[in-house]
C-alpha cells in the first residue's frame, strides 16, 4: 500500500468524518433536507471510492452499505427515523475506528462489522418505515425492484473497484468534486515543524531588530536610519504573517463537540442544547490541541452533574432542554472561552463537606472562605463530589487535570456559580508567542515589563504630595487619586526585594493598572521605555508564581520578568484576610489614633465622622445585592451577612439611593456592620473642637472638623441599636 497515498487518505477522510458528524446532527433536525442528504451522500461516496484504490476491503464494504442507505434517503424512498439515525452514527464510528487502525499499523483491524452491515441493509428497506404503511402495493413493488437493482449493480461493481458504478448520479458528483478540488488548490498542507522553526526565527529576528533599533537610536546617519526603519517595517509584517499561518479558528475544536454533547446527554437521560458563538476566534494550533480535552471534560461535567433531569428542570420552572453556551472572543493578548450552563449550579455545601472530608482544608481555613473560594476547591487535586462516579466524568482527577492542562499553556481557569441558576467556567489563554507592547520599568535595580493593555496611566508625585495623599485604612494604603481611594501595591515589598516601603527617590512613580479585581496603583522606582517584547513562557517550576506571567529578552540580552497585574492585585485582597490581626493591631495603637477620624458625607451633604480605629474597610456594593433578613437590610459579605445601617436615615435626611452604595465596614468586638454613606471625604487627625453633645440615637454629638460642622457617629450605640432592631 502506498503510504503517502494512505496518509493523504487518512487526513482527508478524517476531515470528511468530522463533517459527517456535523451533517448527521443537522439531519436529525431537518430529516428531509435534500441538500444535506446529497452532501452526506457525496462524502461517503468519496470515502468509498478511494477505498477501492487502496484495497481497503472492510472499509469499502461498510461505506458501500451506508451509501446505499443514503441513496434511498435522498431519493425519498423513505424518511429518516430514529433507528436510521443511530445506524448512521454507528457507521461514522466504525469508519473512524478503521481509520484509527490504519493510522496505527496500516491494517484495517480485526473488528467484525457484519452486524453493522446487516443493520444498514435491513434499514434500507422501505417496507419497515412507518411512512410506508400508507403506500399502495404498486409503489411498494416498484421500490423493491429498485432496491434489488441497486444491490445487484453494487455487487457487480464491487468486484471491479476502479469502474464508476452508478452512471447518471455520478456525473453530477464528478462535476461537484471538481469544483471542490479547485478550492482545495488554493491551500497547502505544511508540516507543522516547518512553521514552528519559521516562527522561532521570526522571534529571533524581532529581538535582533530591537537590538539594532536600540543601537541606531542615538546615531544620526540618515541612510542607516532609513534602512533601519525599513527593516523595522518588514520585520513587523513578517511577524504578523507567520503568526497568522498557525492560527486556526476555534471551530476546528468545536465542530466535534455537538456530537459529543448529544451522545453524553442521551447517556445521562437528559436533553441538552449546545449554543456556540465566536467560533471564528483564532487560536494558535498548539493551543487548540491543548484545550480539546479540557473543554470536553468541562462539557461532560456540565451535562452529567450540572444540567438537571427534565423532571427536575420542569419542577424548577426551567425549560426541558438544558442550555450550554460556548463562547469565545479575543481580549487584548488573550483568548477568553466561556462555558455557561443553566443547570443547578455548584453545590457549595457538598463541596465544603467533601473538602473537609478529604482533608484538603481545615475547619478554620474553610470558615474564613467565601462561597466563591469554596467553589474553587473543585480544582484541588483529588477532589470529586460525584456520588456515583460515572464513566462520563470520571473519578476525582477531573477539574484538577483540566486546570493544569490549561496552565501548562500559560492560561488560567476560573469558575463562578449561582445555586439553582447555573455555572460559568472562564478560560483565559494567552496568544502564544505573543509580541506585545509593554512598558519597561525598574524596581530595586531589577527590570520588569508591564503589558501596555493593563496600564492606564503613569503618575509621578513628589514625596510630600504622596505622603499627604496616602491614607491607611486597616492595613492597606490608599492613594487619593482624583477623589477616589485607589489601593496601592508596593512592588519592592510584594516581591520581597526591598523590605521597606518608603520610596527612595524624591519622586514617587505610580503605575495605575487595571486588574481583574479592579484598578490599583503599583509603586515602582523608575520608568524606562516603551517596547514591543516577545513573551516567553516561564518554565513549569515557576509558572505557579502569581506575580509573573512570563519573561522576555531585552535588547541587551538581559532578562526582564513580565508582571502579572492580576496576581499583584490579589495582594490587596489577601491583606484584608488578616482582618482579625489588623483589628488587634489597631486597638493597640488606639491611644495614638484616638483623634484620627474618617470624614464622610451622608444624607443630603451632611458631614459625619467616626474614629478611624473602628473602621475595617471601605467597600462599594451594587444596589442589586442588597437583601432583607427580617426587618434588617443586609448584604452577603465574605461568607456572612453584613447588616447595613443607612446613616442618612439616622440623620433623618435620607437620599434616594441609586447606583452603587459606598459602605464603611465598622467593627466592634469582632462583629461587623456596614454604614451606608454617600461618599468618602477625608481622613483627619484633629482634636475635634466645639463639641455639642447628644442628639439623635446613634450620634454622639457634633463637632467641627476641617472647619465644618460634622456629626460624630456613636459606633457602640449603632451596634447595640442594630441588635435590638432585629430582635436578637
Amino acid at each position: 500500500m502506498d503510504t503517502d497515498l494512505l496518509k493523504e487518505f487518512l487526513i482527508e477522510s478524517t476531515e470528511s468524518l468530522d463533517k459527517l458528524d456535523q451533517l448527521f446532527l443537522e439531519l436529525e433536525n431537518n430529516p428531509s433536507d435534500k441538500d444535506l442528504l446529497n452532501s452526506i451522500f457525496r462524502n461517503i461516496h468519496t470515502i468509498k471510492g478511494t477505498c477501492g484504490f487502496l484495497e481497503l476491503v472492510k472499509l469499502e464494504s461498510i461505506a458501500h452499505k451506508g451509501e446505499n442507505l443514503l441513496d434511498s434517503l435522498r431519493s425519498g424512498r423513505f424518511n429518516l427515523d430514529q433507528a436510521i439515525s443511530e445506524a448512521l452514527f454507528e457507521l461514522v464510528d466504525a469508519i473512524r475506528q478503521i481509520l484509527g487502525q490504519l493510522d496505527a499499523d496500516n491494517t484495517e483491524g480485526t473488528a467484525d462489522y457484519s452486524k453493522l452491515e446487516e443493520k444498514l441493509c435491513a434499514l434500507n428497506d422501505p417496507t419497515r418505515s412507518s411512512t410506508a404503511a400508507d403506500k399502495n402495493e404498486a409503489e411498494e413493488l416498484e421500490k423493491e425492484f429498485q432496491r434489488i437493482l441497486a444491490e445487484n449493480v453494487a455487487r457487480e461493481a464491487g468486484k471491479t473497484p476502479l469502474l464508476v458504478q452508478e452512471n447518471v448520479p455520478v456525473e453530477a458528483e464528478q462535476i461537484e468534486s471538481k469544483k471542490q478540488s479547485n478550492a482545495a488548490d488554493l491551500s497547502l498542507r505544511v508540516d507543522l515543524h516547518l512553521i514552528d522553526s519559521l516562527l522561532n526565527l521570526v522571534s529571533e529576528l524581532v529581538l535582533s531588530r530591537n537590538q539594532i533599533l536600540q543601537i541606531t537610536k542615538n546615531m544620526n546617519e540618515g541612510s542607516l536610519t532609513r534602512a533601519t526603519q525599513r527593516l523595522d517595517q518588514i520585520t513587523s509584517q513578517i511577524q504578523e504573517g507567520v503568526m497568522k499561518t498557525r492560527m486556526q479558528p476555534i471551530k476546528n475544536v468545536w465542530n466535534k463537540l455537538p456530537r459529543m454533547v448529544r451522545d453524553v446527554a442521551k447517556a445521562c437521560g437528559k436533553s441538552v442544547v449546545l449554543e456556540t458563538s465566536g467560533e471564528e476566534t483564532e487560536l494558535d494550533k498548539t493551543v487548540i490541541e491543548a484545550i480539546k480535552d479540557p473543554l470536553t471534560h468541562i462539557l461532560r461535567n456540565s451535562i452529567d452533574h450540572g444540567i438537571e433531569s427534565p423532571e427536575k428542570r420542569a419542577a424548577a420552572g426551567k425549560s426541558g432542554d438544558g442550555l450550554i453556551k460556548l463562547e469565545a472572543c479575543q481580549e487584548g493578548g488573550f483568548v477568553v472561552i466561556q462555558v455557561t450552563d443553566d443547570g443547578a449550579g455548584l453545590n457549595t455545601g457538598r463541596i465544603k463537606a467533601k473538602a473537609l472530608e478529604k482533608n484538603l482544608v481545615s475547619q478554620v481555613q474553610i470558615s474564613r472562605m467565601s462561597d466563591n473560594e469554596i467553589n474553587r476547591l473543585v480544582f484541588a487535586p483529588g477532589f470529586s463530589t460525584a456520588e456515583s462516579v460515572t464513566n462520563i466524568s470520571g473519578r476525582g482527577v477531573g477539574m484538577d487535570v483540566v486546570r493544569s492542562s490549561i496552565e501548562s499553556i500559560g492560561g488560567s481557569i476560573d469558575l463562578s456559580s449561582v445555586s439553582g441558576k447555573g455555572t460559568c467556567l472562564k478560560i483565559k489563554i494567552p496568544l502564544t508567542l505573543a509580541i506585545i507592547p509593554a512598558l519597561l520599568v525598574k524596581s530595586a535595580g531589577k527590570r520588569f515589563a508591564i503589558p501596555q493593555n493593563t496600564l492606564q496611566e503613569l503618575v509621578r508625585v513628589t514625596i510630600e504630595d504622596f505622603t499627604k495623599s496616602t491614607k491607611e485604612v486597616g492595613k492597606k494604603r490608599f492613594f487619593d487619586f482624583r477623589g477616589k481611594l485607589m489601593p496601592l501595591v508596593f512592588l519592592n515589598k510584594t516581591l520581597s526585594i526591598d523590605p521597606t516601603d518608603a520610596p527612595k527617590e524624591a519622586v514617587v512613580t505610580i503605575a495605575v493598572v487595571q486588574a481583574e479585581s479592579g484598578v490599583f496603583g503599583l509603586i515602582i522606582d523608575e520608568v524606562m521605555d516603551n517596547e514591543e517584547i516577545v513573551v516567553k513562557p516561564l518554565s513549569k517550576q515557576l509558572k505557579s508564581i502569581r506575580y509573573f506571567s512570563g519573561a522576555t529578552i531585552l535588547g541587551d540580552g538581559g532578562i526582564a520578568l513580565i508582571l502579572d497585574v492580576n496576581g499583584l492585585g490579589q495582594e490587596i485582597e489577601s491583606t484584608s484576610q488578616q482582618q482579625g490581626a489588623s483589628v488587634e493591631a489597631h486597638s493597640e495603637q488606639s491611644k495614638t489614633e484616638v483623634s484620627e477620624f474618617i470624614v464622610l458625607s451622608a444624607g443630603n451633604n451632611r458631614r459625619v465622622a467616626l474614629p478611624l480605629s473602628n473602621v475595617s474597610r471601605l467597600e462599594e456594593f451594587e444596589n442589586a445585592v442588597l437583601e432583607m433578613a427580617g426587618e434588617q437590610c443586609v448584604v452577603q459579605y465574605r461568607g456572612t451577612l453584613l447588616p447595613l445601617i443607612d446613616i442618612g436615615s439616622i440623620l433623618h435626611s435620607a437620599k434616594d439611593r441609586t447606583g452603587n452604595l459606598s459602605v464603611v465596614v465598622v467593627h466592634s468586638e469582632k462583629k461587623l456592620t456596614g454604614l451606608v454613606v454617600d461618599s468618602f471625604i477625608d481622613i483627619v487627625t484633629e482634636v475635634p473642637g466645639m463639641e455639642i453633645k447628644g442628639g439623635k440615637a446613634g450620634i454622639l454629638g457634633s463637632a467641627v472638623l476641617q472647619g465644618k460642622v460634622t456629626d460624630l457617629i456613636d459606633v457602640q450605640a449603632l451596634f447595640q441599636g442594630g441588635i435590638n432592631a432585629s430582635g436578637e
Binding site: 522561532n200 515557576l542 532578562i559
Partner: protein
C-alpha cells in the same frame, strides 16, 4: 577493561559531574550541552532551588541549584558549571561544581537503588552505576525537573 569493548552496542553513555565530594551521572541522551558559565537573572519570590533564569540563545531556561534540589549537604560554588538538560520539550540548566568525563557503562554494572537513600534522592535517581571502580547515582532528569519553584518560607 578490554572485556567492555566487545559489548559496545550495549554500552550506555553518561555525563559525570561532581557535587561537593560526590560524583553523579546523567544519561547522555538527557544532556543537551555543557556551559562553563552563564549570567543569571534572579526571580523574586522563587525558592532557593532556582538560582535564576538564563538566556540560552533566545530561550529562557531556569537555573536549578542541584544541591538544593536534591537537598544535598553543602552548596554549589559561586562559579558553577552548567549542565543543560532536556526532558521532552522542557529544557533546564543544572548548576553543579564541576563536570567530569563521559563514561561508557555496560548494563551489567547497573545496580538498584539502596533503601537507605533519602526520599528526594530516591525519587530523583534511576539507578546506581559502577564505573572505573567508582559507585555513582544516575539521576532522573524528569524527576529532577518536577517541583514547585515558589518560595514557601
Amino acid at each position: 577493561m578490554p572485556a567492555e569493548n566487545s559489548f559496545e552496542e550495549n554500552l550506555t553513555q553518561h555525563v559525570s559531574f561532581r557535587m561537593g565530594r560526590e560524583e553523579f551521572t546523567i544519561n547522555v541522551g538527557d544532556v543537551q550541552e555543557i556551559l562553563n558559565s552563564a549570567s543569571l537573572s534572579q526571580v523574586p519570590t522563587s525558592s532557593k532551588t532556582i538560582r535564576g533564569l538564563i538566556n540560552l540563545r533566545g530561550q529562557i531556561i531556569p537555573a536549578i541549584d542541584l544541591s538544593e534540589r536534591l537537598q544535598y549537604e553543602g552548596t554549589i560554588s559561586e562559579q558553577p558549571m552548567i549542565v543543560v538538560v532536556r526532558d521532552g520539550e522542557e529544557i533546564a540548566a543544572l548548576l553543579v561544581d564541576e563536570v567530569g568525563d563521559v563514561l561508557s557503562v555496560d548494563p551489567s554494572n547497573y545496580e538498584s537503588l539502596p533503601p537507605t537513600l533519602s526520599a528526594v534522592l530516591s525519587k530523583c535517581s534511576k539507578r546506581i552505576i559502577r564505573s572505573q571502580s567508582k559507585v555513582m547515582l544516575e539521576l532522573d532528569v524528569k524527576a529532577i525537573l518536577d517541583f514547585d519553584g515558589r518560595d514557601n518560607a
